[in-house]
Subunit: 281 residues, 4 copies
Amino acid sequence: MVVHVDLVADVLRLEEQMIMKAVMEWARVRLVNLEEEALPLGRINADAAIIRPISMHRALYAASSYEASMVFTVNTSSTILYAGDKMLSYTRLIAHQIPVPKTYYASTPTAAAKAGAELGYPLVIKSPIGSWGRLVVRAKTPEKLAEFSELRRMLPCIQQRTLILQEYLEINNTDIRCVVVDGELVGCVARKARRGEWRSNVALGAATKPYPVDTELEDLAIKAASALKGFFVSVDIFETKSHGYLVNEVNGVPEFKGFMKATGKNPAAELSVKLYHKLHQ
Amino acid sequence: MVVHVDLVADVLRLEEQMIMKAVMEWARVRLVNLEEEALPLGRINADAAIIRPISMHRALYAASSYEASMVFTVNTSSTILYAGDKMLSYTRLIAHQIPVPKTYYASTPTAAAKAGAELGYPLVIKSPIGSWGRLVVRAKTPEKLAEFSELRRMLPCIQQRTLILQEYLEINNTDIRCVVVDGELVGCVARKARRGEWRSNVALGAATKPYPVDTELEDLAIKAASALKGFFVSVDIFETKSHGYLVNEVNGVPEFKGFMKATGKNPAAELSVKLYHKLHQ
Amino acid sequence: MVVHVDLVADVLRLEEQMIMKAVMEWARVRLVNLEEEALPLGRINADAAIIRPISMHRALYAASSYEASMVFTVNTSSTILYAGDKMLSYTRLIAHQIPVPKTYYASTPTAAAKAGAELGYPLVIKSPIGSWGRLVVRAKTPEKLAEFSELRRMLPCIQQRTLILQEYLEINNTDIRCVVVDGELVGCVARKARRGEWRSNVALGAATKPYPVDTELEDLAIKAASALKGFFVSVDIFETKSHGYLVNEVNGVPEFKGFMKATGKNPAAELSVKLYHKLHQ
Amino acid sequence: MVVHVDLVADVLRLEEQMIMKAVMEWARVRLVNLEEEALPLGRINADAAIIRPISMHRALYAASSYEASMVFTVNTSSTILYAGDKMLSYTRLIAHQIPVPKTYYASTPTAAAKAGAELGYPLVIKSPIGSWGRLVVRAKTPEKLAEFSELRRMLPCIQQRTLILQEYLEINNTDIRCVVVDGELVGCVARKARRGEWRSNVALGAATKPYPVDTELEDLAIKAASALKGFFVSVDIFETKSHGYLVNEVNGVPEFKGFMKATGKNPAAELSVKLYHKLHQ
């Protein structure tokens, strides 16, 4: 029996090409380009859909369109959303007793000032949506918090105006990215911010190297993936002196170029194998 | 034992005042004004939170902040989101075999043109987020669809650029709004668009009158509420000649001023009673 | 002969009411509400139009619509624009040898960083359009400048993304506002920022008191008004220890509530008298 | 004596390369890339600046920065602005008795409806800023005008929300583009919209061919350029049966690739010669 897998994307990065190549060994793969194709809700024929648009909301809506047709999705719309929106990530992780940085939700500068008074300074300001370190700033004083909050208020989209306030943690400008597929850890890398930058996003120049896995880290990454029901996710973890490991972020459409280079492991191949088993159970 | 209920809002409309009055009969109610208060994720003390901000995303983030603290929320963040985002509503309703209008998801004008060719004209163009009929237009020709899609593309937020395309249904410019609390139907009203307007939003001048409930309508409203796990929702239903009843929308933070006036029923009191029982189970 | 004066506005503040009252003593005044009225370009009958919309662009387009009909406008579209856009104000003032703070134009964060290296820190970041101190922040370090520039880049309108960088001047958080009508100074007030705020905008809580006029100040205010061909403008001036008086801003649709209260003078009456003479020359 | 000419740009299109090549024959040309360079107001050394950024506002602010330093600019900030903003173009052209389509300014949907009632249908809706036919739509009924106006209202920038309403003219989907340098006509081309598109923008697929110049057309193009004090501009003209020639648009940073191809004439060389004479007068 032929298995039909749709690969849904808007740009074909190295990641998508590798996934396609791996899955084509056992399935008929159709590339669905969201720049050109509309999806009929509830009337799509496929056995599975691998959801890879860069835009979180395109990924979300594509996944949900497939789910209306009872197609198995990697990841599900729910995982994409709860990973892609940091407010939803943190609240769900906390509800699953997974340690995260101390966090407040504020919808106005006035509310943010109150959160700042409780958190102390410096503190970190984030937005629910946004990749590659965008909209992440550090405020050292209440004045700076006020200035940033006011600027944020002028952004046009509600998610850009939403303020997530967090304690600033000493982590030596490093975080650990772990890739998890179907409940198993593929590996971990450390990402260290470039000099003069405190945010450890690869897009902002961070360097990547393999990170030795211990049981505690492995358990945490798998637990975080599971809390968001992620089939194929990356989990970003801070190692802090004061609180040990803390989950900072989960990614529902993970990029893994840097991870591959640093570890020699191939998440695309892992995903392909696990998906094969899932569909042939 | 004193029960603590937080009423979370940004504006106190008649609805919020009535809910507060009803719940104060059996609980200590604290008003949480999101314009001024920040919410500490995972560290809020309350037995329940009634989530009433006008902005969908504020409601979503407030609910999830409470859920991180294991507080019972009406509605949950998941209900608020799957009701508030029409793409997620339609896909989830379809996955639960609930009839909705024939719908396509398109993320670009090119994709929309393809959906239009399959749906035929006139068709209706919607956006995932947006109340009161905003961003809902009807296109009679491919040219109009192209012009609207291009205009939408210039809107700043991804959800405003997302195109939902639907068959246009002859419903005499009327829809039926049903209020459901904890799996029971409170009642239904019909909303008829004012002359010269085809959208039946009260905000656009629609008139409201009681609508006689039949079993099919009751079942459908309850099923739709249940598909989105809504504790207190309104369900908007079309009665069409061609397809019978179709669910058009679910609201997770329902307004009910017009409903009360037309039916003499009090959804705030119903909500209060049901919530009391929920918390004293 | 009856003189016809149009008062063009969108909101009737105290200022507009006072102007209307004064001008009605000698002219037939028609109130043109831009919320409701369209203007036919080149086909408006009036002897003069007093332009008072709050939005700078509405004021600009209303004035230019009248000018297409050869109607005398207070202020002209050119004055409204060159006053309302700080980039155009500074460049025109400089071209007229009027002293202003040392200023750079930068259209990207990279360009802003270069300007910062030349200006030194702290510096002030402004935007061409924006009243009441909005988008005005102070950066004490290159890092803060980078963070603010990056945030600005996410704003949707080109003018909001445009960066004006200025030396930070010690002026004791005070500026001097002078009102000029048809080449004559009506008076000056000092505006001192409220405690904890360095920007001296009344909208941000600044207090207002009369300021004793000297010849140098008077000359500068009149020269600045004249450089922008303003018939009725306010001129904001800094008194600095290092550079003496510097013009910081000109307003082409001046508010004067605070000015009246502090000085007892009535700019609306002054405007009315000067306009009468202009039209009866 | 060496002449110093700055070429200010953000992208080097064919046009900029040709201008640079021509001017380098007699001047030392410095390329100023606004993506990277900040401009110090009033302290730039150059004999002339050729202003070529694609973004109208970058061009405007760059030109004005040079003018603060008393540098001759092609075009001046004033020309760039009055050409780049259609509201300012139309009003200034009308003030100079130059024929343009019948036009209304409306700042709200209510105002637009009134203009529509006076203009009749179909009518054309435009925005003050915007190239390549963007935001230009045709409404055949008051309902379509209402829908477009409401959509426009949701755009984030004031200029995008501003409504210019015009009579729809039968011009066989063709317009005439004339290039004028220092008061002399270089030539004209006709641009005919591709099939299925009524807007004659080359960016929307229009075809270009030479257009035989007559005295009336030549006079009109030169008069329009002169009304906006343009040194190097293109003027877009409609030939209508009912009203003869009408000026539709002036461009202050003209593209001329298509013009060159169709006419064999070289506007870059013309500009270079005229600029040489200007600076050596």
